[in-house]
Subunit: 226 residues, 2 copies
Amino acid sequence: MRVAGILLVEDDPSVRMALELALTRQGHSVTSYVTGEEALDHIRSRRPEIVILDVMLPGIDGVEVCRRIRKIDQLPVILLTARGDDLDVVVGLEAGADDYVVKPVEPRVLDARIRAILRRAESAASDRIGFGDLVIDRGALKVTLANKEIHLTPTELRLLLELVRHPGQVLNRRYLLRAVWDHTHVADSRLVDACVQRVRAKIEPRPAEPVFIHTVRGFGYRFSPP
Amino acid sequence: MRVAGILLVEDDPSVRMALELALTRQGHSVTSYVTGEEALDHIRSRRPEIVILDVMLPGIDGVEVCRRIRKIDQLPVILLTARGDDLDVVVGLEAGADDYVVKPVEPRVLDARIRAILRRAESAASDRIGFGDLVIDRGALKVTLANKEIHLTPTELRLLLELVRHPGQVLNRRYLLRAVWDHTHVADSRLVDACVQRVRAKIEPRPAEPVFIHTVRGFGYRFSPP
DNA sequence: ACAGCACGTCACAGTTTCATGACACAACAC
DNA sequence: GTGTTGTGTCATGAAACTGTGACGTGCTGT
C-alpha cells in the first residue's frame, strides 16, 4: 500500500477527526494541527509529503499559509474550504495551491486527488509500504513508527525488508541467514534471533508481545501486520 | 503573459467554441478536436502542453483517452465532465488525470487550474529547483546558498545533480560511481565519500551535521530537503 | 516434576564504515 | 615554465555495527 505523510490543518475538531480517520483508513499517515503557525513550524522541521489546508483558520488563513509555504518550498498543497466561490478558487490556486477542494468531500475523492497530485509531484515515486503505524520506505531506506523515524542498522534493515517482502509467511533461520547474511555463517547460531530481537526492540511497542514480527516456534519468524 | 498550447477535446460544438474563446482570451493558444482518436493522432505528432478532455465523447471516451495518453506520455490532462459523480472523479483521477473539473466551469477557474497544473508539471522539469536556502540552476549550472553563489567543481556539481535528481532516495556508491564517474573505478574506493565531503563543505552550513546530503551507513547517500 | 529444547537477552570486543585532512599528480591557463 | 585548480588516493582516528557465547526463560512431551 502506498502511503503519504500528510500534514492536515483544520480547526474544526469534528471535521479534523473525520478527515484524519478517513485518510488513515486510506493508508496515509496523518499529522494534524489547528493553526497555520503550528503547521509552518512543523514544515520547517519535518517535511511532509503533502499539506492539506483548511482556508478558514484562526490566525493566518490557509491561503496565506500556502503563500508562505511556497516561499520556502514547493510542497504539494491542497486547499480545503466550505466556500466554493469562483473567486476563492482562483485566489487559492494563484497562491500556489495545487488543488482546491470544496467541503464536504467524499474521502475517496480526496484520496484520489491527493494521489493525483503526488503522482505529479513525485518525479521519483517513492516506494513505501505501511503496516499500521509502521511505514517502511524502501527508496529512502527509512522506517517510521507513528511518524517518528526509527534508526535501524544496515543488517537490521535488511532483515526487516526481507521479512516484509513475504508478509504473513514464516521464514526459517536458514533462509534468513542466506538472504540477509552471506552463507558463511553456521546455522545453529543465535545470530538471527539476536537480530530479530534488536529489530523488535526498535519497532515493537512491547517487544515481549510482538505485533509485527512473530516467533513461530520450531520454524522461524513471520512478519504480519497487526 | 505565459501561454500554453492547449489541446481541447469536446464534442458539443457550443461548449467547444465557448471554451476555445474563453481560453484564447486568457492568453492560451488552443487547438480543438471532436474525438479522442483525432486528439491521440495530434499528440503523437505535435505534443501540446496540456490536454483538456471531455469525458463523454463519441468513440473512445475521455477517461480511456487519458489512459492511452498516460501509456505514452506524462502530459498534463484535465478531465471535463457534466457529471460530478464521486465515482467518476475517482475513476478519472485513477486513469492518470491531473484534475477533474465539472461543467459548467467559470473560465477563470479553469484557467487557474490549468496554470496550477502547468506550474507543477514544469517545476519537475524546470531548470531551477530550490530546497530551502539551496537553489540549483541546472540550466546555468549554478548553485546558490542563501542567494550567495557557491563554486562547485565539475565533479562536485555532477555528484550534487545526480543526488538531487533522486530526492529522498538513497543512492549507493556503486551507482554514484557509474553515474558521476566512468566505470573505470574500483568499487571499494573512498572516492565517492571524498567528493561528498567536498560538496558538503561547500553547501552545508555545518558539514558535521549535514542538512542536505545524509549518510546512510552501509548503503550510501541520500539527498533530502531540510 | 523433570529433562530437553527452542528462543530471548545481554554485554563486549573485534571489525567495519565513514569523516577528515594531507598529499601527489594531472590538467590547464597564463 | 609557473602557478592554480581539480581530482584521486591514502592514513588516521572516531564512531557505529555486529557476531558470539554465556546464560535466562518459557515451552513441550514424558
